[in-house]
């Protein structure tokens, strides 16, 4: 399961353009992730400039680890 921390997200669309399977959509200011199509590559989690994307399957580290899905 994935979640975008909206209090950190700057809705820049970096994750959208990075996603290799186009399963992220920036709906004006809200990031929507279609997890059915997600391949769990983690590009969006690492590529988000502010670290706003979290996932229960993400095993890497990073800031904001206290935020759990």
């Amino acid at each position: 399961m994935m979640r975008v921390n909206t209090s950190i997200c700057n809705y820049c669309g970096a994750c959208v353009g990075i996603c290799p399977v186009n399963c992220i959509f920036l709906d004006e200011t809200i990031i929507k992730i279609d997890e059915e199509r997600c391949i769990k590559c983690g590009f969006c989690i690492r590529g988000c400039p502010v670290g706003a994307i979290v996932a229960d399957w993400w095993t890497g580290g990073g800031e904001n680890e206290e935020i759990r899905v």
Binding site: N10, G13, G17, P20, G47, C48, V50, G51, G60, G61
Partner: protein, 395 residues
């Protein structure tokens, strides 16, 4: 569902979209631009440095209102910051000249499009495309909350790095990990910065990318970083790199961010397919960004102009075959340069701080009139012959 019909639908009112709309409208086409945001130019997603050489080509008259600083040259700092390569605007090429105020710049370009007769809707995201018989024929747009059908003979996708419209249409704009740089920038006030120069810091402070300081007037600058995705291990790492850099520099540490800008850029060669039946991609959406500098504004404006003009030529036959002329023009303009710069970028990203220090030491002491890869390598060969092996494949 309400239905509208146009000759051309442009998705995105950034510089690429506005220029496409402007030149298409000039040729008498009925043009609609849809912009997702409530305000054009805001929030900014840009470091705002440009050269002044290309503005004539796209018929943009410099205006005081959108120029925050005039720049005479660039300085590139070695990782240990002992060696500084000073480049004049001539030598530095694309990203030296002005530091813009994109909020005003983007609005001016949108108004140039409107003056030519284009219509413009803000707060109107495209939420899907209309594709029939293998042709893109418009988009579903949520216009201020109401979903409407916008039919068009040609769609110009100018939706930036997200490049969503292209992928809905089936065009492959997927990037490899190595060809994405994740970026964050603070607009900082109350700092000490040498005005009239843009400043670039390379090496392990920003793996696979660089840190920039672009002055925005007295005691103010855009201080930002791009890091290659394949060099990022953890969540939130990009911001940490930038914060560490600022912490190390007292002239910056004393300042305060008054804006946080985030985004990403592509650093790939020109894609093989940026047109299809009824659709053309421009600017960042077409991945037309210089792989070394990450600069994309000039390319967005120029490719926008090309797309607008070719839309007029192909309006009765918006097939891939006709629109291929746009692909050819783009390739002629950027394919070689971006491929070469992609190779150099790949090479630079592999170099250690130690090697980069030696490289900058040599280059900064040489009288290099015109920066060329060959000129630099010959200078390196003289001073550090053992280093040249690392660069052999560039010769």
């Amino acid at each position: 569902m309400r239905r509208y019909e146009y000759d051309v639908l442009v998705v995105g009112a950034g510089p690429g979209g506005s220029m496409a709309a402007r030149f298409a409208a000039r040729h008498g086409l009925r043009v609609l631009v849809v912009e997702k945001r409530p305000e054009i130019g805001v929030p900014v997603r840009c470091a705002e440095g440009i050269s002044r050489t290309w503005l004539d080509e796209v018929e943009i008259e410099p205006q005081k209102r959108w120029i925050d600083a005039e720049i005479d040259g660039a300085k590139i700092y070695s990782p240990n910051e002992r060696y500084v390569l000073k480049l004049s605007a001539d030598q530095a090429g694309n990203e030296v000249g002005f530091v813009l105020n994109r909020e005003y710049f983007d609005k001016e370009l949108a108004s140039l499009a409107v003056k030519e007769g284009a219509e413009l809707w803000v707060k109107s995201p495209a939420v899907n495309i209309i594709k029939e018989d293998g042709f893109v024929k418009g988009a579903i747009v949520r216009r201020f909350g109401e979903e409407v059908e916008v039919r068009a003979r040609i769609v110009i996708a100018a939706d930036g790095f997200e490049s969503q419209v292209a992928r809905w249409a089936g065009l492959n704009t997927v990037l490899r990990e190595r060809d994405v740089d994740s970026c964050i920038q603070y607009r900082m006030t109350n700092i000490d910065v040498e005005e009239n120069f843009t400043h670039f810091y390379i090496g392990s402070c920003a793996p696979g990318g660089y840190i920039w300081i672009f002055p925005k007037g007295e005691n103010e600058a855009n201080v930002g970083i791009g890091v290659a995705l394949n060099k990022i291990k953890d969540r939130g790492e990009v911001k940490k790199y930038l914060d560490a850099f600022i912490e190390k520099h007292p002239n910056l540490r004393k300042g305060t961010p008054i804006q946080i800008v985030t985004g990403a850029v592509s650093t790939c060669p020109v894609p093989k397919h940026i047109v299809d039946n009824g659709i053309m991609l421009v600017g960042d959406a077409a991945r037309l960004i210089d792989p070394i500098t990450g600069g994309g504004l000039a390319n967005a404006c120029i490719s926008g102009k090309y797309a607008g003009e070719i839309a007029a030529k192909c309006i009765e036959n918006p097939s891939k075959e006709c629109l291929e002329e746009y692909q050819n023009k783009v390739e002629k303009k950027w394919e070689r340069k971006h491929l070469r710069n992609w190779f150099v970028k790949e090479k630079l990203s592999q170099l250690s701080d130690d090697t980069l220090n030696k490289l900058l030491e040599v280059i900064s002491q040489e009288e290099i009139k015109r920066l060329s890869v060959r000129g630099i390598l010959e200078a390196v060969q003289k001073r550090y012959p053992e280093l040249i092996e690392e660069f052999e494949d560039l010769l």
